[in-house]
Amino acid sequence: MNAIEPLLSVRDLRVSFALDEGLVRAVDGTSFDVMPGQVLGVVGESGCGKSVTMRAILQLIDRPGRITNGEIRFRRDDGVVDLARLEPRSAAMRDIRGAEIALIPQEPMAAFSPVHTVGDQIVEAILLHSHRWQPGKRMGRSEARDITVGLFRDVGISMPEQRIDAYSWQLSGGLRQRAMIAMALSCKPRLLIADEPTTAIDVTTQAQVLALLRDLQERYNTAIIFITHDLGVIAQMASYVVVMYLGRVMEEGPVDDIFHAPKHPYTKALLRSIPSLYGQTRVALPVISGALPHPFNRPPGCPFHPRCPDAMPRCSDAVPKLMPVPPNQFASCFLHHEEVDPA
């Protein structure tokens, strides 16, 4: 896009699941870039493919799912690798997963093992990727433990020496999510994928976790892909936003443009339909008519056209390509250009 090389570059990614009932195209031609140190927000409703895209980046797609097309170019110290070409269980992928690209999952309760202390689980990750801390030298357990205590302190857990010997079920929701963030940071990742990290926690705890992530991002300059369905969280966290619907990118652009000058009818409708803390109360909200289509019944053409207020005849025939729309955005919509996505 410009002089700075992207850290991660996803091009025309397609992931499908061959189920007995039919083929589900969960991700259907998604493209976006993540710049070094950038917070990229990915918004979308359930079934839009945001989580599957992230699992594809980490090569964590379970059978019968398969990456059928596209590239996931990730820039490392020794050049660019295409993660889509790597075997999920290969040494190269294992070297990247959890170390250079780390994940903060939605449900920290499910992500930690209940039979090991949280400290042990983080120590294990550090030992596995110890070269991220000390290149070319073996690391001892006590050293890894010291690093873990330091990480706990970094993410604002009080009494870290005691807390690392706790089990995940002994921690409150907020502490558990902080411990999860400490684990994600344990191998100094270049890219952090946060998959709905605050959806399962209360609003005051969410504010604490968001403040922590913002602070860590500034301190370490880690790039973050922040996935959420909460437009408020996106507005406060991201600098660049990707809006997804049914496995495709509808629109992307700088956060201010997305919120104040949206180009795609889906983005516009989504923004109008959320109740705000300032608007008029007890009046009908503008809605997006219809329902999210069932994954087996993908509409032909633009996936949003059956619910789109501005749909035209050609929207049901051809899939619009993601194209630049002045001044700053990209949109896949025939209102703004004529380009058809051939696939």
Binding site: H229, L231, A235, Q236, L270, S276, A291
Partner: protein
Amino acid sequence: MNTETASSPLLEVRGLQKFFPITRGFLQRTVGHVRAVDGVNFTVNEGETLGLVGESGCGKTTASRCILRAIDPTGGSILYRTRSGKVVDLATLSQADLLPLRAEIQMIFQDPFGSLNPRMTLLDNVGEPLLVNGMKNRRERADRVAELLRLVGLRPEFMHRFPHAFSGGQRQRIGIARALATNPRLVVADEPVSALDVSIQAQVLNLLLELQARLKLTFLFVAHDLSVVRHISDRIAVMYVGQLVELAPTDAIFRQPQHPYTAALMRAVPAADPRVKSGDGVLGGEVPSPAAPPSGCYFHPRCRHAQARCKVEATALREVAPGHFSRCHFAGEMVF
């Protein structure tokens, strides 16, 4: 709390308590209590929506379940004015006396997937409350179910299908149709839109507002999402560790919250506008356990305005402006 104007309330909750025993050992001796709801007072007027907000574990769901008598309260009274105009105490009624009132008080559940029987068609799911309430004729039931489905914006032909054929938003509509089957007067909605997608939430909120106007329903709307509660409620009650900390008309509470917890809750909501920076003054610490609440004001360990008095002196809900109640010692004297 004698707050109300001329219109007598449909529901008046006084000093409601629900304690869950903590048992230990082989003999299951009671060693303490979780004070899930501890002396809650509020009224709900006919035709209004009272929003009940708070974080998880604050007792909002327990309070609403007590009102439905899904669980038996430990103490307090729940005065309900029946259709015939008589005021009864739901807290002490026997199951037999409660039965005729069940039709008048209904519930909408959070989870549109767990709350419908997957082995029953919509006709049976929505028609079951009718059957229980004595509508034995199947054709009559089918007519009523068709009417209900139309009411919530679904096609009557759907009644022979099973719940799995419907999306989350449609299922929530089915749950609403079932709640309305017996012509209720009071509907308790526990997080009715929090499991729905953003684009579907607005549809269901609009439906609830429309049904309320059409059927003169009274809602007790339990939720954690402040912007949703603000949108739908006439008045809002905020709970913290089993107690009501603030109760006021929606406009008043958002214009000038009179309790520091309410103010902190509002500040914690991330604004859906990148130009509005929110999340400043993040509330530190964690919600205390209702089994061992702090001394004095329950909020004092996290309150940035806390003073020596807050640590020792328990607080009570008091009226600081007409219809505006707060549990803070300094309400009315400070801006939070």
